[in-house]
Symmetry: C2
Subunit: 411 residues, 2 copies
């Protein structure tokens, strides 16, 4: 492990200083080789799929695991898209002359060595490799064991391409030892690793946050809310509620709780309940909700639960303040929306809800790098620091100050 | 502790939304009251000073601990200066329309609840309180036990002022329990605390980094280098070397190692050694250095030592690459400088040295918020993430995305 990490650190000094054209050429070559070696990748994937079926993985998981020619093609396409992103390194973020006539420049630089821990989807292997190369970072990858063979086949293509281009193969590598103990060691190697990005279940992420000494940018819980204000457009609110809950209930930016202003509840709730139930959503309501529509009772614990499923908790609130209070108490600070025509309430909600993404008159489902226009999916941070919310390629950089003097000394 | 943290969290929701004028008025009032209650503060300080003498604190520590009317006046002055800083909350950092015609705005917001752990100097209590109030954050302070009475007296003035202004007193508070166990609990309270800034000895900071689940922005080691290139101006290099080593040897941005290009060593070393020794600096040289000047031998361990004292290690190097290699291997990523007339070497050094602050033709002593023109001293981060290098008041903010829609749903 020690030698592995030493090599990663050495490789970081190389990739950090490659120019944009070279990095784009590397990504193009990896994309080309992924397509060339497609059958080797899909063959490896077949082994994972067989194992997965043997171990009775759910059909959803198997679908995420599955690779065919078109999916490998999509991986190559994604790398080519990353190659076209604006150069993230060397952006001058700020600059000024200080009182001593020193020119101070704040410039974006790569973070260094980034560890990414993820599950099932093997395309993450090439996506993250591409994002790290583009941003001048070394990637240390730890995929899920259910995708072991697929990940190894993809990593081998990347590694061979780096070798072909006479670049250090340690720029992208899978951890040599994928045991739990090895992971527990890795997350404490703050002399070598500069950042860990865990993507996966809440338990895994909690474990890493609690034990890592390397900084962690988490991608975990999305307990999102939609608040329908007194004067909201009923038809639009119904459409947005359905979209936010039903379009993809298993993702972090789908809503789990609907908050409804008491003044609109009698009109809105029966209508939206009918539409939601038609889609197969199970509704759980507070007492006031159940005076209006006949649904299961929501327990106190429902307000804290990320269902990631076709279940929606509903609460009637007296006003925007109660809605904001509820969200800040029970939400996960991910994405919350207000539907309203009222200027003051919209502003209040945007300002006072303590979440990465606060929406007015829109579905919460737009919280991701793609929809934000970042052009590539690094992830969605539930941290408050370093990065918050959807992460673009620039979030894989930090900065340094360059100071240009002419003999200055301090008095 | 639980109730204390709950109150801090509640106070965070209040201070986050105060307007700039109100926050300035709070700071002005605290400044006024510090001046009014000056004798109570200096009386409390007398107890700490007596204790300190009894416990044989060094004269340097006693000096840092000491408060008189003029030093309390300086604390008040500092708060008034913080009050005049540009509003850090609500800055629009970025903004664009996405493909769905959503207006996305990236806006600075307070971080929330910030814990600051520090030692000896009681003025940190009011400085940090002022910086946190200005940036809309709650401050939880844990000062050193040697300054207990002074800190309590200052905190009491702040607390009473908040009460007088009908604001939650929990906006600024000292930890109720200053034991080691309480600190170990505090750094794991990530439900309540959003950031911990430890300022103090390396051991304390290491302990916190290793055990905290709350994000930590460290302020620790400064192992800084000065590299004198082959064609450097000898007189200027002597002046800068002296300034970087001697002006305040006990601070983190003073140099510990001098690297000298072999081509200039014979000319430069005898001259600079004479000047340094005249100032009382102990020199420790590599083999090549000792062929030129008669100094103690530098051991391998000297390259990794932060002396914070009148000692300087000297190494002769073959070229800029060897200098950069040495710095990246032994430095702490704080502040490093090259003295050169060569354009390419200057650029190489600025790009390849992996430090928060990279200087050309200047002393390293400018690395702090004051010299950078930030107007107030939050600290100097040795983290790579969230903040790196000198921290201004804007570093006490994070951001959120505000998204303005007109009924958008995701397809």
């Amino acid at each position: 492990m020690k030698e592995f990490l030493e090599n990663a650190k050495k490789a970081a000094a190389v990739i950090a200083h490659l120019d944009g054209k070279t990095k784009a050429a590397v990504l193009e070559k990896i994309a080309e080789n992924l397509e060339k070696k497609c059958s080797q990748i899909t063959d490896a994937n077949k082994i994972d799929m067989q194992e997965g079926k043997k171990n009775s993985l759910s059909s959803a998981l198997l679908d995420r695991l599955f690779l065919d020619k078109s999916r490998v093609g999509a991986m190559a396409h994604s790398l080519r898209e990353i190659a076209t992103l604006k150069e993230p390194v060397g952006r001058v973020l700020d600059g000024w002359m200080n009182e001593d006539n020193l020119k101070i420049e704040k410039v974006s630089v790569p973070i260094g060595v980034i560890g990414v821990i993820y599950e099932s989807r093997p395309n993450v292997t090439s996506d993250v490799a591409g994002l790290c190369i583009k941003s001048g970072n070394v990637a240390i990858l730890k995929g899920g064991k259910e995708a072991k063979n697929s990940n190894e086949a993809i990593a081998k293509v990347i590694s061979n391409t780096l070798k072909e281009l006479e670049l250090p193969q340690s720029i992208v590598s899978l951890v040599p030892d994928s045991s739990r103990e090895a992971m527990n060691q890795l997350i404490k190697e703050d002399k070598y690793l500069d950042l860990i990005i865990p993507r996966g279940g809440e338990g895994l992420i909690r474990h890493i946050s609690e034990n890592a000494t390397v900084p962690v940018v988490k991608h975990d819980k999305g307990l999102c809310h939609l608040f329908v204000d007194a004067d909201a457009d009923v038809a639009q609110s119904e459409k947005i509620t359905l979209n936010a809950k039903v379009q993809r209930p298993g993702v972090c930016n789908a809503i789990e709780t609907l908050l409804v202003h008491a003044d609109i509840a009698k009109k809105f709730l029966p209508q939206v309940a009918k539409a939601l139930e038609r889609e197969g959503v199970e509704l759980r309501g507070c007492e006031k909700t159940r005076e209006i529509i006949s649904v299961k009772e929501a327990k106190e614990s429902d307000w804290d639960e990320e269902y990631l499923d076709m279940i929606l908790a509903i609460k009637v609130v007296a006003n925007v303040d109660e809605a904001i209070g509820h969200i800040n108490r029970h939400g996960s600070g991910h994405s919350d929306a207000i539907l309203t025509k009222d200027y003051a309430n919209a502003e209040k909600f945007l300002n006072e809800v303590d979440a990465a993404c606060c929406y007015v008159n829109s579905s919460t489902r737009f919280t991701d790098g793609g929809a934000f226009g970042f052009g590539a999916e690094v992830g969605i941070s539930t941290n408050k620091l370093h990065s918050r919310g959807p992460m673009g390629i620039n979030d894989l950089t930090t900065y340094k100050f360059k100071i240009y003097g002419s003999g200055q000394i301090r008095n």
